[in-house]
Structure formats: structure tokens, C-alpha cells
Symmetry: C2
Subunit: 334 residues, 2 copies
DNA sequence: CTGAAAGCGCTTACAG
DNA sequence: CTGAAAGCGCTTACAG
């Protein structure tokens, strides 16, 4: 079951078997055939770990995800894996569940397997300096989605600002003036960026956003639904809302229905992410498509470029986003 | 950055460093301190691959999933990873997208990384014999969710029959007599098992299921919604439906609403899986909870037991399922 | 308690 | 075109 066994059985040296395995043209066709037959016959399986040790290479990439149960990241992971497999790498998976502590033990453990690189979607409140120490100065790293303060790594992010800007523009174009930004934690960078895009569009339209139009909520349906009341707690109640993401939008929808407000008729709302459900809910959700699987493939490619060229300048890549207009933004302003 | 460097710098032999690394009590406390200080100072990272090679051990487990974009499997993967990390293993991820061909190349590639075992949720129409040849006779394997015909591997499955039986019993207890089984591909084993549980309950209640009550559909909302019409295409139209899974149930719900039939009021329906959305839709969906994350942990444990005892008899484990009653099954029979 | 030596399964110059 | 030898980073008997 090792090159030795194959070599002995086919009457050549280990070196020759190795050359056959790696497809070298140096070996005679007849010898190659003999060896390959023996390989099949014995059901030989290559020990890539041993080869990596000798060649000082790696054929794995670590993928550390903050929340795999979020379909957005599950799709992202599929895209990463898809692209890596295509390039002959294997994915070492780790899921942190948003815990910086778990993230650190996980990364330490993964690093012992000498991955060629790491794709990291950081847990909230990650300690950039500690992570940098864990990862060492020579590891190829691509950070995804959330900035890692104080670490000079390549970074792939969604164009949060532009996405929220597009959504806000869309509602403004439909005649809305009192537009809320609903949901998200104000201290998360993605929420800040989306709020920025929203504010930019509002100000460009000559409408300074009323602070009462900024409503925080955990990005879950249940909490979003409960916060709905805050939208209408004052005289300048909005007629539309740009939601932090689709989950929040779906929660808001429930909250509106519970109040007898019909989404898409009495009130317009937009989401962010374009999760599969967005198209299937009633009314279907106008939202910002981010194509997580394509982002996964892109992340894998960026990382492998870094693996190949460690000295290239650091890159900040912003992935395109797209407005998808559906029924939920169909309300005329009252 | 290797044991050699540490040994040299702290004035001991490689062997001593190795003993320190593995926490052996053989080494003097003072020596240990000196070595450990040097370990930190140089930022040493253990090369587990090299150690595995020498010790003929493995610290990875391959996890091959047919569809990671399905939240059920994403949760399952999280559970697996969680349990494996706790036992000092790392997860090698692979996603086949239900393609047997991709599954084979993926497994071949993963096997070259010498995993301690493989957790496999087979793609539809997998070729058991070929997979068995790929995996070799010595690999610890746990098959999840879908039977792999002709392979003597440990198998963890949901109790599909009992789940459908519970749902059917529930509808019968509410007075329904004409109950459909809606959705799923009749040639998939999970659909067959669920239909069996449904038929058992119906027959036990003295109601032989009318063949017109068996309606196939791909497990997607769109198709399920389109098939709704078939329920009502004849005189013995059902008053309730046991759905193949939650997605199908949600699709059926849309289809009912489109016809002006109110789910949970004019028509009762149940799902299967208890995806997060089941509790949040209106009316909330009565369904069968399967706890995919717990199943993932269970799968990891079963596999590791097999890793530890290769000669134990093969096991078929059926995971418990649970009826969760919510509003969607609230219709009285008309 | 510590060190010298052999070896895990592979690859790669280097001779021939 | 093929073979003998050294070595990747680690561990583990075996002496001392």
C-alpha cells in the first residue's frame, strides 16, 4: 500500500513509481504501464500528507465561518469549496458560532495542519492582533465580510454602502420621503456601511434622516417583528423602510401584518441578501442580491492568488451587489 | 520553526522537545520550562501532519454532504464539526451538489489526505459498490440520511416512518379522514419511508389511502405550490395533507392561499424537518422536529466509535423525531 | 531524566 | 530512462 510495495511488485525503484504517480515524461511507456497496472491492482492510494511534508507544500485551505447555519455563509462555503476542489485543494472547515474564543482555539488547531491559506469570516468582536499572532506572518489570509481591525490582510467585502444606497434611491424614486433604516446592530461595520449608503442617498435627495428613523434590532425575525412598533411611535412615522437584511425585512413584514399594515400596499420595504425565501414570500421582497456562492468562489480565487504571490500588495475587493425589484416596495407614499 | 530549532535554542535534544510537546511527565520541570519558554518565544507551531505520518495516526475526518445549501445539512455539518473539534479532529469538507460523479472525485481526493474516517450523506443515485472500492476496506465510514445500497457501513437515519406516522395520527385525532401525502419523489428512500408511516397510520384507522391522495413533487416550494391543484382535481378531495417536508408544506400553503383556501382554517397540513421558518410563518407550521445539529453530533460520535473499534458489529441507528403541534393543523374537517 | 538513531511515505537532485 | 541516497518534521524504542 506504499510506493515501496508497488516498486517491488513491478520490479522498479521507488523513484520510478513516484515519477509515474506525478505523470513525469521521463519514464518509459512500457514501464509506466506496468507500474500503473500494479497501482490499480493493489488499490494504491496516494499519501498526500507525506508528499506535502517532503515537498514543503500544502494542499489544504482552512475556511473559518462565523455562522454556518446562516444560509448566506452556507452558500459562501459551497462556493469556496467548489473553487478549491477545482484547484486541487481540500477545505478544512471550522465554524465559530460568533465566539472569538472558539475562533482562536479553532484557528490554532487548523494552523497545525499547515494549510496553504486561511479564509476567515471573523466572529464579531474578534481581536485582530491576537489572530495575527496565531496566523503568523507567513500565512496567506483572506478576510471576508467583516473587517479585521489592525490586520494587513486581503479583504473581500460586499458593497454594503452601494446596496443600501440603491435600495434607498429606489424608494425615493417611488416618491417616498420619510424612509427608515430598520434593523442591524449599529456597532457592526456592515450595519454602519449600510446606514451610510442610506444616509448618502437621503441627503442627496435633500432629506436629512430623522434620528427616529434609525431603529436597531438583532438580525432575527422575532426581534425585528417586535421592534416594528418603534417605527410608528411618533408623528413623523415613515412610509417605507430600508431593512438591514432580508431576515429583518421578513420580521418587519410580520410586525406590519400584526398591526394591520399591508406590506407592499400600505408600507414599502426592502431587504438585503436575496435569500431564497425573498422571492417566495407574499408579497415578494425587493432586495439587494449579493450571490454568496459567487462570493465564495471569488474568495477562493483571491486567496490562491495570495498563496502564489505572497509579496503582492494587499487588496481590498468590494463585490458588486444588485437591486432586485419585487412587490414589497410597491406602496405609494401615503 | 521546527523541533530542531527549539532543541538547539534551549540546549536539549529533539526527543526532549517532543516529550515536552506531548506533555510527557518524563521531563524535568526546569527543562520543561526552558523549552516551553522557547516554544512561545519562537512562536512554534506543531506540524501535525509530520506527527501523524510518524505515528500512523490521523486527526481529520472527511465530511461529504450532498447539499450544503440546504439548511438541514448546514446544521448537520455544524453539529459534526462541533463534536469533532471537541475530540481534537479537524473536518475536511466536501459538497457534492447531488452529483455522484463529483462525489467520487471528491472522495478520491479526500482519501489521499488519510482521514481517520468519513461521514457521508450520499448523493442521490450513488453507486454503493464504486464508493466502497474508493473508500477501501479499512476506512471507518458512517452513512447518514440516505441508505447506500450494498455497503456494510454504519448508518444513521431519521425515523422517517415514525415521523410521518405521528403527523398522520395527529390529523386523524383531529377528525380528518381524507388525508393526502403530499410531495417528495416516490423513488427516494426517505419519501418511501414517510409514505409508509402515513399508510400504516391510515390503515390502522381503517382508511385505505386513496391513490389520488399520493401526490409527487420535487421538494421545492415552487413545484409544491404548482401541484396544489392536483389535490382538488377529483371528488374525494382531502381535507388535510401530510407533507413530505417543510419546504413542500410551505409551497402547498402558497398554493392553497392562491386558491382562496386558508391553511389552518379550511385545510390542515403538516411538515417535516422543523426548519426555523416553520415557527415563523403564518399560521405556524405543525411539523416533525429532527434536530439536525444534534444529528451531526451523533454522527460524529458514532464515527469515532467506529474509528476506535473497527471490528464492532455494524450499526443501524435511527434518530428520534418529534411532533411539534402549531397552527397549520388547526382545521376541523369539513 | 536525556540523547543518538531509525523510520513514517514520499520526492528530488545526483549518478549512471 | 532508472536507482541509491538523503531528507521533509516528527516520534519512539533503546541506551545511558
Amino acid at each position: 500500500m506504499t510506493v515501496n510495495d508497488i516498486a517491488r511488485a513491478s520490479g522498479v525503484s521507488r523513484a520510478t513509481v513516484s515519477l509515474v504517480l506525478r505523470g513525469s515524461p521521463l519514464v518509459h511507456a512500457e514501464t509506466r504501464n506496468r507500474v500503473e497496472l500494479e497501482l490499480k491492482r493493489q488499490g494504491y492510494v496516494y499519501n498526500r500528507g507525506a508528499a506535502n511534508l517532503r515537498r514543503r507544500t500544502s494542499s489544504s485551505v482552512a475556511l473559518v465561518i462565523n455562522d454556518l447555519s446562516n444560509p448566506f455563509f452556507a452558500e459562501f462555503a459551497m462556493g469556496v469549496d467548489e473553487a478549491l476542489v477545482g484547484e486541487g485543494y481540500v477545505t478544512l472547515l471550522g465554524s465559530t458560532g460568533e465566539s472569538p474564543a472558539r475562533q482562536e482555539t479553532l484557528l490554532a488547531s487548523l494552523m497545525e495542519h499547515s494549510p496553504a491559506g486561511v479564509i476567515l469570516s471573523p466572529a464579531e468582536h474578534s481581536d485582530g492582533e491576537r489572530l495575527q499572532r496565531l496566523l503568523g506572518p507567513h500565512t496567506a489570509v483572506l478576510v471576508f465580510n467583516r473587517e479585521l481591525p489592525g490586520a494587513g490582510y486581503d479583504f473581500l467585502a460586499l458593497d454594503n454602502r452601494r446596496g443600501a444606497w440603491l435600495a434607498t434611491e429606489h424608494l425615493l424614486a417611488r416618491g417616498h420621503r420619510r424612509i427608515a433604516f430598520f434593523g442591524g446592530h449599529a456597532d457592526s461595520s456592515s450595519c454602519q456601511q449600510r446606514r451610510q449608503g442610506y444616509a448618502d442617498a437621503m441627503i442627496a435627495a435633500g432629506i436629512p434622516p430623522d434620528p427616529r428613523w434609525l431603529i436597531e434590532s438583532a438580525p432575527t425575525r422575532v426581534e425585528a417583528s417586535q421592534r416594528t412598533v418603534e417605527l410608528f411611535a411618533h408623528a413623523r412615522a415613515p412610509t417605507a423602510a430600508v431593512c438591514y437584511n432580508d431576515n429583518v425585512a421578513l420580521g418587519l413584514k410580520l410586525g406590519l401584518i400584526a398591526r394591520g399594515v399591508r406590506p407592499g400596499l400600505d408600507f414599502a420595504l426592502t431587504g438585503f441578501d436575496d435569500i431564497p425565501e425573498a422571492a417566495q414570500t407574499t408579497p415578494p421582497l425587493t432586495t439587494i442580491a449579493v450571490e454568496p456562492r459567487a462570493r465564495g468562489r471569488q474568495a477562493a480565487e483571491l486567496l490562491l492568488q495570495r498563496v502564489r504571490d505572497r509579496d503582492a500588495p494587499t487588496r481590498q475587493v468590494v463585490a458588486p451587489v444588485q437591486l432586485v425589484v419585487r412587490g414589497s416596495s410597491g406602496a405609494p407614499p401615503s
